[in-house]
């Protein structure tokens, strides 16, 4: 990671005081960072473990250790597996759409011209909105009362008249995916664009000289060289989608009939709605945390191998 760290072989006197100085200062400048991490990150994680092992109701507070009851209750809960299944389904679909769209848009606008700059801004603008405001916006847009969308769809015969696209599990899933794709495409376009710009231009020149077509160039040059960027986008996208909450909370609240219940929503549901049990919520949080750390380290390893 760094070249300076192994230089401590022979240390003259002067250098060691300088080193002590550097040590003191280095620690000092990093101190605020450390304080935040300890107070807001380490302590809550430890407390999370403690809560996951305890009988801890929302209204009643801590009533002592009950390990492993919370975990048993979580695993046995009828929505546990369905919510994992749904979260994975959602993650796969969103990831495919965002990566393809992100790369596609990036290919369209990668050359810096006036026209392309306008396009870029248009694609990027949604990503400046918050997830909550984007969800509220589409909530209105989807509503049969004021939104134009239902009228268009029912004219096409896709939804029942007066019905809502949020009314059935499948259509609610797709409606939510549209929100996310709208909100995040620009963001992934940007990441992909940066990757594209790192590909040396003469490679393309050479390929064109050899008479390769657009598709051929894309497949044999762009795609392989973009692999690290694509893997990075994959990591972001998978992590973000697994933790999906705001959009479903606002658009469907997990309904209809629990068909759009994501894992993170289930945490909220355990804590505040159905169970009002912080112990169970903490147990599920801990499971999600561990799963995510595992998934991330697998993906990171994939990324490292690819960059070599």
């Amino acid at each position: 990671m760094s070249s300076v760290s192994n230089s401590a072989a022979a240390v003259p006197e002067r250098k060691s005081t300088a080193k002590a100085q550097a040590f003191k200062r280095g620690i000092l400048y990093a101190l605020p960072d450390w304080v935040m991490i300890v107070v807001l990150f380490f302590v809550p994680i430890v407390l999370l473990v403690y809560m996951a092992f305890s009988r801890w109701s929302l209204l009643g507070g801590n009533r002592g250790v009950n390990f492993p009851d919370n975990f048993v209750k979580v695993f046995e809960h009828k929505l546990f597996w369905p919510s994992i299944g749904f979260t994975l389904e959602y993650t796969v679909i969103v990831t495919i759409f965002l990566l393809i769209l992100g790369l596609g848009l990036a290919l369209i606008v990668q050359e810096s011209t006036k026209w392309n700059n306008v396009l870029r801004t248009c694609f990027l603008l949604p990503s400046a909105t918050g997830l909550a405001s984007a969800s509220l916006l589409f909530y209105a847009l989807y509503s049969p009362q004021v939104g134009p969308l239902t009228k268009i769809l029912s004219a096409l015969g896709l939804v029942q008249e007066g019905g809502s696209v949020l009314a059935t599990g499948q259509s609610a899933l797709w409606a939510t995916i549209i929100v996310i794709v709208w909100r995040f495409s620009g963001y992934y376009m940007l990441l992909m664009m940066i990757g594209l710009q790192a590909i040396p231009g003469d490679l393309y020149e050479a390929a064109r000289m050899d008479g390769a077509g657009t598709w051929r160039i894309f497949r044999s040059i762009t795609l392989p060289l973009m692999k690290p960027t694509i893997v990075m986008c994959l990591v972001y996208c998978v992590t973000g989608s697994i933790l999906a909450f705001d959009q479903f909370f606002i658009l469907t609240k997990g309904g209809p009939n629990n068909s759009t219940m994501t894992v993170v929503q289930l945490i909220y549901n355990f804590a505040f709605d159905s169970k009002k049990d912080l112990g169970m919520a903490a147990a599920l949080s801990l499971i999600v945390l561990i799963a995510l750390v595992i998934i991330n380290s697998i993906q990171m390893r994939g990324m490292r191998d690819n960059t070599k």
Partner: protein
Amino acid sequence: MAFNKVTRALAGIAAAAMLIPLAACGGGSGSTGAADTSDIPAKGTDDGTTITMWTRSPLERQAKGVVEAYNKSHKNQVKLEIIPNDDMEGKVGGATQTDSLPDILAGDVVRIPYWASEGIFADITKQIDGLDNLKDLQQGHIEAGTVDGAKHTLPFITDVSVMVWNKNLYKEAGLDPEQGPKSIAEFTEQAKKIAALNKDGVAGSYLAGQSGGALVFDLFPSVWADGENVMNDDGTEATLDNDSMKAVLDAYKELANTQNGLGAGSKEETGATWTAPFANGKIGVMPYPNTSLNDIFDAEKSGGFEVGVTPIPGTKEGKTSTFLGGDAMGISKDSKHVAQAWNFLYWLMQSDTQKEVFADNGYTASNIETLKTAYDDADPRIQTINSTIIDGNGKTPKSAAFNEGFNAAGSPWQLLVQNAVWGKSDLKADNQAVTDVLAGN
């Protein structure tokens, strides 16, 4: 990168950090700060304090009326916050964590038993027992907040379910506009006549398929009218597989299978807009909350459709019942103004007050005496509503797990109705799923 070193250091820091919360959380967080109610004057204190209060959105109109009347006549001022119905549980839970409950907390009477048992409310047994007209008050709202003999709550607003029908649509369909359904069979029959009008957007009836709260409110009274029950007395076991429940669900299933039988969106209605279709004149006949009728009565005066009101029937003719719902209220454990808060509660329980804020505005009072005496000049339909309370057939179900079993989004009760009306019904298994929750599994 020496990963071992990192892990070891992390473990060390984590171990050190472990000591902090353990030391801090030893006491538990639920038992703190129960409001002291020992020296409240019988009538409370009116000294110009600002009192905060929460209630749920369905009762906004009535709640605002009550609070306005109090604020006009007292030095104390109540600051009312209206919480969306679905968010109430989370809001109260969050507030207990942040010690920010309002002075007076009013909530859906079916949620009160759980809140009371978890120690959300201050014990005001002495004050409640000291009320002269205690026996006239809506008992279900007091019982809901009673834990081991300790009383915590009084009725705030009474909301009952009644059968309503659209007289204009009835005329069009050739039905007698003055006769509502007297049994579930008649209900189905009349709804089908409306459905047969085949008018754009008009349907026979409506059901809030995704709202457990609206569903208990609409469907339970028919079961009670037949003398059946929905739960055992302790609220630990569901008895929803009885014949009455089945007959009621079958009636809705029949309507669901009829063209225009149930309004569009019934299956998906989450409760957020469940009263709107009838209010917009699109529905023939349905069980309805009386608190939402005031708006329709108002609209009627300015040219809206005419509405009929009758008690909710059972499967047999002659017996009716209602869901004695609404909000009960108590003083929260976080309240720092218990004497002032009690002043509000005491004031609202007085017969004069009940007459002034409820009866005179056409709202339903929580005091039986007031219901019997103060509505002589009222709309006969309001008297019909009141009669459902006076006759004593109405019920308020009580179970500590009621919210999870019935009201929460995606509750087993909601799934039971969904299966029975729109899907493949297995009433026994679905009833067992409700029992599993009620029994605390």
